[in-house]
């Protein structure tokens, strides 16, 4: 039973509503508090990356470093290619027949774009959370157990412990622990989205891709998910697409601003929002267009 999650580490859960929580420390405060965080490790490197749908070029020659254990936010007007890029990072675009790409996306030693890359293990390492909560029409337990059953040799007890761990980590355990074997479709939208996050982290990914995870949620649920993202960055590399400037500035460490398939500006969130280098960025973050 050495694989059992260490449940004794769990501090007494305290019901905190996102809105009521004290303001989070900013990135610089956080870095001060834990100096080792300052040595940023590279998680994913994109080089000369181009993506197409048939003839149409959705992404033009992007170079970008995504740092480990940080939240990177993608912002930009609709149709500028944020989702496209995100979906290439775990090759979700494979299911779009017309999609193809050039260039390089490297994660450690792995060249993601290579044809031989095993998408099954890639997607185990790079999880994805979608815009609309999309739980399977199965029980809550089966939803979270879906990934582990696919990827791991895992016994019944371990699986139950892992499901609990994932649900706790995603901050929905308290709300669902009494109805684990009821349909996941009975949950509220916000609960469903956190369930989807639990489902994504159950496979133990290194990177978590989130495509507008809060756009279908009400403000209270949004705050909870934001809290969660904030928590999860301690262990995961998170890339998040958002249309909400406040959200980007609240929960991301770095931000990339996309415009018409190109990255206009990329940098630390604080700097990008307060002292943007480009006029376009300034116009966008101040809400002049988009």
């Amino acid at each position: 039973m050495k694989d059992e999650p260490k449940m004794d580490n769990v501090a007494t859960p305290k019901k905190t509503h996102g809105m009521l929580k004290p303001k989070r420390p900013t990135l610089s405060q956080r870095n001060d508090a834990s100096p080792e965080k300052n040595e940023q490790k590279l998680a994913i490197r994109l080089e000369d990356f181009n993506a197409y749908y048939g003839e149409f070029q959705a992404i033009k020659n992007i170079n970008l470093d995504i740092m480990a254990r940080q939240v990177t936010a993608f912002i930009g007007p609709s149709g500028c290619g944020k989702s496209t890029l995100l979906k290439w990072i775990n090759r979700m675009n494979d299911i779009v027949p017309s999609a193809w790409a050039k260039g390089s996306i490297r994660m450690g030693d792995l060249e993601i774009l290579k044809k031989q890359t095993d998408v099954v293990s890639l997607r185990r390492r790079v999880g994805m959370v979608f815009q609309k909560p999309n739980p399977f029409p199965k029980s809550i337990f089966d939803n979270v157990a879906f990934g582990p059953r696919l990827h791991f040799k895992i016994g019944k007890q371990d699986l139950a412990a892992l499901v609990e761990w994932s649900l706790r980590k995603a901050a929905v355990w308290d709300e669902v622990k009494d109805r684990l074997h009821k349909s996941a479709l009975g949950l509220s939208g916000g609960q469903q989205q956190r369930l989807c996050i639990a489902r994504a982290i159950a496979t133990g990914p290194e990177v978590l891709l989130m495509d507008e995870p809060c756009s279908a949620l009400d403000p209270a649920s949004t705050a909870r998910v934001e809290d969660l993202v904030y928590e999860l960055r301690e262990q995961y590399t998170i890339v998040m697409v958002t249309h909400n400037m406040q959200q980007a500035s609240r929960c991301s460490d770095r931000t990339a601003f996309f415009f018409e398939g190109e990255i206009v500006e990329e940098g630390e969130t604080e700097q990008l929002f307060t002292r943007p280098k480009h006029q376009k960025t300034e116009d966008y973050v101040s809400g002049k267009f988009g």
Partner: protein, 322 residues
């Protein structure tokens, strides 16, 4: 990191245990096996079509290879006595074909207007309560085996509906045509209703907004807009009527006649095939055996052609609105 240690998520030290990863090779292999199985399944339907066409061509050629038999005579002749006379026989298709056309025409006179009006009523007018009766009725009617409708034609339509009207024979084209029409009504109604419902709301609202009554909106806006769908419904119903077998086998009689008279017996192409099978005189190699294939080839050609046109028209209208 005080804020996270009090959180219900357990903080950074609450780490996920690791489990041995399954090799993905197995999943990929299973996938490959399944894909080939699925392709195999899909090939069955192709095989069916190829089988039908190959069979019809090959065996019909057996028919036309016989002495004194030529295709022209088959397609234009007005006498049919295959399997009825010893030695020489007539093999002009028109008695059978005209039987099919007579019955189809009668069926369509009944089914097209009735089906269309029912469709219009269902899609534009029917209140929930009426719909709750009408829809299941149509579904049940559509699910009634055709042999039952054949029985109905012989035992009810002819003696009770037709006999008072004139000199109808026991087996006649009209009764069969009415029964075939009955089984086409649900088909026309449901396909046409689909087409009417596919007309976008905006069109309807536009018409009402201009002050049209419901009648005007329906007849001048919605029906024309759904026309290609309605036509395709009609075509599919015609193909269905031409291919209908058991009703005509029971109710239309077994003598091939080349007339316009709807009161007398009229064997159809499908009826001929069934009657020949039933007589159990189908011995491979005889003209009687081969003639089944020649008739079936023509039947297939006609129904396949009409269905194909119907499908193409249907795809058109689906594209229009989707």
């Amino acid at each position: 990191m005080s804020s996270s240690s009090v959180s219900e998520t357990g903080g950074p030290n609450f780490v996920r245990p690791n489990f041995p990863v399954k090799s993905s090779a197995r999943s990929h292999r299973n996938q490959a096996i399944m894909v080939s199985l699925l392709i195999g399944c899909a090939l069955v339907t192709l095989g069916t079509t190829v089988g039908i066409i190959y069979m019809l061509i090959k065996e019909s050629m057996g028919f036309f290879a016989g002495d004194d038999i030529n295709l022209w005579e088959f397609l234009t002749g007005t006498k049919w006595s295959v399997g009825r006379t010893q030695g020489k026989f007539d093999y002009g298709i028109w008695p059978l074909l005209s039987g099919t056309l007579r019955i189809t025409a009668i069926a369509m006179i009944l089914a097209l207007p009735l089906g269309l009006v029912t469709a219009i009523y269902l899609s534009e007018y029917a209140p929930k309560s009426v719909r709750a009766i009408l829809k299941p009725t149509l579904e049940i009617l559509a699910g009634i085996p055709t042999v039952v409708l054949g029985f109905f034609a012989v035992k009810f339509i002819t003696p009770n509906l037709l006999a008072p009207l004139g000199e109808f024979k026991t087996f006649n084209a009209t009764a069969a045509g009415i029964a075939v029409g009955i089984l086409c009504i649900p088909l026309v109604a449901s396909l046409a209703e689909d087409a009417l419902r596919a007309v976008p709301r905006t069109l309807r609202e536009g018409a009402y907004g201009l002050g049209s009554t419901k009648l005007e909106t329906t007849l001048k806006v919605i029906v024309p807009a759904a026309l290609s769908g309605i036509i395709s419904a009609f075509l599919l119903a015609v193909a269905r009527a031409i291919g209908e077998t058991m009703v005509v086998a029971l109710a239309a009689g077994s003598s091939p006649t080349f007339t316009m008279d709807p009161r007398g017996p009229s064997q159809t192409m499908t009826g001929f095939i069934v009657h020949t099978f039933q007589s159990e005189s189908v011995v491979p190699g005889t003209p009687g055996y081969y003639s089944i294939y020649a008739v079936a080839a023509l039947l297939f050609l006609i129904t396949f052609g009409i269905t194909l046109i119907g499908q193409i028209v249907r795809m058109r209208y689906r594209e229009e609105y989707n």
